[in-house]
Structure formats: structure tokens, C-alpha cells
Symmetry: C2
Amino acid sequence: MTKYDPDLSLLFHALADPTRRSILTRLAETPARVTDLAEPTGLRLPTVMRHLSVLEEAGLITTSKDGRVRTCAIVPEALAPMRTWLDEQRAIWEARLDRLDAFVMNAVKESEE
Amino acid sequence: MTKYDPDLSLLFHALADPTRRSILTRLAETPARVTDLAEPTGLRLPTVMRHLSVLEEAGLITTSKDGRVRTCAIVPEALAPMRTWLDEQRAIWEARLDRLDAFVMNAVKESEE
């Protein structure tokens, strides 16, 4: 039953933290330097760096270094597997509702005969 | 910057595990007894019970007990906040692309004047 999809697990894990989600939302607007990302969080730089590592490991952001300045950018297509998973769940659920519909319609028809 | 949304964090945390995702997919098809959910995972019952607790805490499933038999059912609307979050991220990202488009179009126009 268990289909192991490590990428999807990393993705959901990365998004399970409010600080990481807010960093991602910020980066969706524009790329930013690590120090600029850290400032509004009120967190210490090493803590923010750990959050950025989790986001990078999940493929949600990329970072690049120019001298001493590290800049982060979002990878918007990285959210696609999550959308696919959501759509799959909805499809299974809707198929179930359709079967239930058909069952009820049949029962009504039989009771009328 | 950090908008704390505990429900969304619980939701993403619950989905960050492949066993929990597969249980959810199974329940999207039909409600099931705990013992039937445990069987295909190959995991011990207490482990499966812990996974089910995480899913229930996130609001993704409900459980009910009839005598000694506990049955689980999916709460399909529980995934809605995740879809909303995804749509918000996409809207921010697309607004950024629109601004970039406008900027490039302007630059092209100015270079032609």
C-alpha cells in the first residue's frame, strides 16, 4: 500500500513550519539575501540558515553566493508534485461520490419499479 | 513576516509521511477498520494507531467506535486550506511574472523610440 515518494515527503515536511512558509511567500515576490530574509523573522541567523537548508533540500529554493552575500530564489515548479497529489486525492474521492450517486439512483429506480 | 497558521502546519506535517499518505488514499476510496488499514502497511498496530492519531489531529480523518471495532473515514474538505495556500503562492508568483513582463515590454518599447 505504501508508495514511497521521498520528494513528496521532503516537500510536505519543508512546508510544515510557519517560518519556512513565510520565507517562501516572501521569495515568491522577489529573490532576497539571507540577511534580509532573517530580519523580519526575529530569529538568529543560524536558525534561519537551517530553515533555508530544509527548503533547499526539498527543492523549493536555490541559493547562490556572490562574495560574502548569499541570495535565495524560489523554484516555483517545485510545488507541482503537491498539486498533482492533491488532484489525485480529489479524483479518487470524486469517483467514490460518483459510485455512491449511481448506487442511490439505481435504488430509487428499483423502488419505483 | 511569520503568519502562524497552526492548522496548516499540522496538515503539512501529517502529509509528510508516506504511510500516512497511503492510509489517506485508501480511505478516500472507502471508510475502513483500523485492522484493515494496518494489514497492507506491514506495521504493528500501535504504530498504525499513532499514524492515525496524527491524521485525526490534523482533521484529515474521523474515527468512530462500534463495540471493539474502530472505523476510520476521510474528511475530504480538510485538504481545502492546502489548496488555498497553493493558489495564494501561485497568485503571488504570477503577479511577479506579470510585473516582469510589463518591465520587459517597456524596455523594448523605449529601445524602439
